[in-house]
């Protein structure tokens, strides 16, 4: 979802903050030392200040909640997890600096991060030589997990979301589907291309693929073209502001059938603003990793725990941060149980093998890795009630 996020650097007092956090991280363990008998050090990094800090802080909160709960339950192999937190400010150079400090000065045994695609790719490239086990909660670009076997992600990729929706469309029996995507956006175009390819392989006819430019507010010409092909469903793989206008305008033109979306739809109704009218959101379905409307046991427990800890409802990113921490902890458990010494090459490899071989029951669904860093996991299909509130329509198993 975040390939498109800008990586502008914002340096407002964040250097001081990063330094402060670094010192806190070092404090516990006499500096430099890798995990002793008392604890296991892991790194958590992401943009905690600047433009995209909301994503970074959400992932950080989720990860820290998991580590806190894990420690309360006795930690890993009787050892407490100690999280060392660094701010990347959403910048690739800062992220690599943070990575180097985590590995060389703090001696971490695994990392949760980074959050945005650009910095995560830089960290992924740097981490191959160290074979450092890393789990990114949210970087969706295909590249991230391709540099070495040490990088994993907790989220699914953009193309994967497109394929998920293609399978959903096929299951629902839609024969003709049109698409309307944002030209020039890696996210929107990536989802659109994967959807069309998979849908056609499943026997669905793509009636037309329409595009629009950044900043457009009038989609009626494209929608007229689309409606003229009388599709059963329209795929709109964009962010919620655009999605809301598209849905409203299409309903105004008399289109009363199905809309399909991906995780950019999250926030279209009931967030800061209602970008589409509740009456227009009938027959809209989008896939995402997590929704507080999911009534599974793990998800509801996570929502109540998160609210108790931070006083607000968790977002998609909080859940992904929580699950990324869980995936890393599963790998650490495997290495600890093998009785290996932290910091050695065997230990790191054991963590990686542990992640690759294991399955964790995360709050965004069950996560396993079948030989790649991309997770095999379930997706939620979200729809809307008559009053516009989100409902979990179904859980698509991987």
């Amino acid at each position: 979802m975040f390939e498109n996020v800008s990586r502008r650097q914002f340096v407002t007092g964040s250097a001081a903050l990063a330094l402060g956090l670094g010192l806190v991280g070092c404090g516990g363990n006499g500096g430099g030392e890798s995990s002793g008998a008392s604890g296991i050090k892991v790194g958590v990094m992401g943009p905690h200040t600047g433009d995209n800090s909301s994503y970074g802080l959400a992932c950080l909160n989720g990860a820290q909640l998991y580590f806190k709960q894990l420690n309360a339950d006795g930690g890993v192999n009787g050892k407490q997890i100690e999280a060392v937190v660094y701010d990347t400010k959403g910048d690739a150079t800062e992220a690599v600096n943070a990575y180097n400090r985590l590995v060389q000065e703090d001696g971490v045994t695994g990392i949760v991060g980074s959050v945005l695609t650009g910095p995560t790719i830089a960290v992924a490239q740097a981490s191959v030589a160290d074979n450092m086990p890393c789990v990114t909660p949210s970087a969706t670009a295909a590249d991230v997990v391709t540099y070495g076997s040490n990088y994993f992600r907790a989220c699914v990729t953009d193309p994967e979301q497109g394929r998920v929706m293609a399978h959903f469309a096929s299951e629902q029996g839609y024969k003709n589907v049109a698409t309307l995507y944002l030209s020039g956006s890696d996210y929107s175009e990536g989802v659109n291309a994967a959807f069309c390819e998979e849908a056609e392989a499943l026997g669905i006819t793509i009636t037309t693929q329409q595009s629009y430019a950044e900043g457009d507010v009038d989609f009626k010409a494209q929608l007229t073209n689309i409606i003229a092909t009388s599709p059963d469903a329209i795929l709109v793989p964009n962010y919620y502001q655009d999605d809301g206008m598209i849905v409203n305008q299409a309903r105004g033109q008399g289109y009363d059938k199905v809309f399909l979306g991906v995780d950019g739809w999250s926030g279209i109704y009931g967030g800061s603003e209602n970008y589409a009218d509740a009456a227009n959101l009938h027959d809209c379905y989008y896939c995402c990793a997590f929704s507080s409307s999911n009534e599974s046991e793990t998800a509801t427990k996570f929502v109540s725990d998160y609210e108790a800890e931070y006083g607000e409802a968790p977002t998609n990113f909080c859940a992904l941060g929580y699950d990324a921490a869980m995936v890393l902890a599963a790998g650490l458990t495997a290495a600890e149980e093998a009785g290996l010494e932290a910091g050695t090459d065997e230990y790191k490899q054991a963590v990686i093998d542990g992640i690759a071989a294991g399955t964790v029951d995360g709050v965004t669904g069950s996560i396993s890795y079948e030989g790649t860093g991309d997770p095999v996991k379930s997706s939620l299909i979200i729809t809307f009630a008559e009053d516009g509130t989100e409902e979990t329509f179904q859980v698509l198993e991987a």
């Binding site: 329409q210 430019a213 009626k220 010409a221 073209n225 502001q241 809301g244 305008q249 105004g252 970008y275």
Partner: protein
Amino acid sequence: MFITQVLNGLQLGSIYALVALGYTMVYGIILLLNFAHGDIIMVGAYVSWLVMAQLGLNPVLAVILSVAACTLMGVLIDKVAYAPLRNAPRLSILITAIGVSYFLENGAQLVFGADAKVVPAYTDLQTIQVGGLALSFPSVLTVIVTIVATVALTLVVQKTKLGKAMRAVSEDMGAARLMGINVNSTISFTFAVGSALAGIGAVLYAMAYTQASPTMGMMLGTKAFVAAVLGGIGSIPGAVVGGLLVGFAEVVVTALGLSVWKDAVVFLLLIIVLVVRPTGIFGRTMNEKV
């Protein structure tokens, strides 16, 4: 499909035409390109949002207050920013207009924040059925309102005493003053009418696109400016024809699947018209400058 696309073009063109009318009237009377004109629409959309989403009042009241706020804003901008520069070089007043535009955009960002606000629906009626064809209600309403507004404006300019004063000031400000016409109040009246049209445009825009953002007037204003120049700036029919031309050009390009080239085509159209006919389509032949 063809009829729907024609309506799409008409609707888009009508909004451009309403905004272009304001540009053309102000230019006609004091030779000023009022770059703040697009941002007046933004003010109108935010007033609608305030009245309906924040205060929960009646949509009719929202329409009235939006148009009133835009009218007041236009007159106020003239009195505060442009009137003191009446005898200054034209470049000074042009730069002031750009300054006012930035002031309004950044002011809105300061007050309302950078995120788009959703203007609630004025009416539940979204679609009307005409002979088995589903037409978007905001589109139909926009076209009708624009026709009515243009006719009314033409009548005001041609048939009323104030209209006569406007034409006189436009012809020769000094001579008009010597003839006993109150130039300042005539100019204020022109700003009021132009801004009221922008207010109507704001309501129609918010009805169709449902979002208000601080920079929404920027591109809209630029396109309407292109429309006014295309049609021949200073000419009322020119503004309407120019607006429709720009709207249709955008819809045709988009309908052909080239939506990314939409803006490029509009500006290319402007370049071609300026090269072939620098005064615009109605620039010289029509002498009924406002």
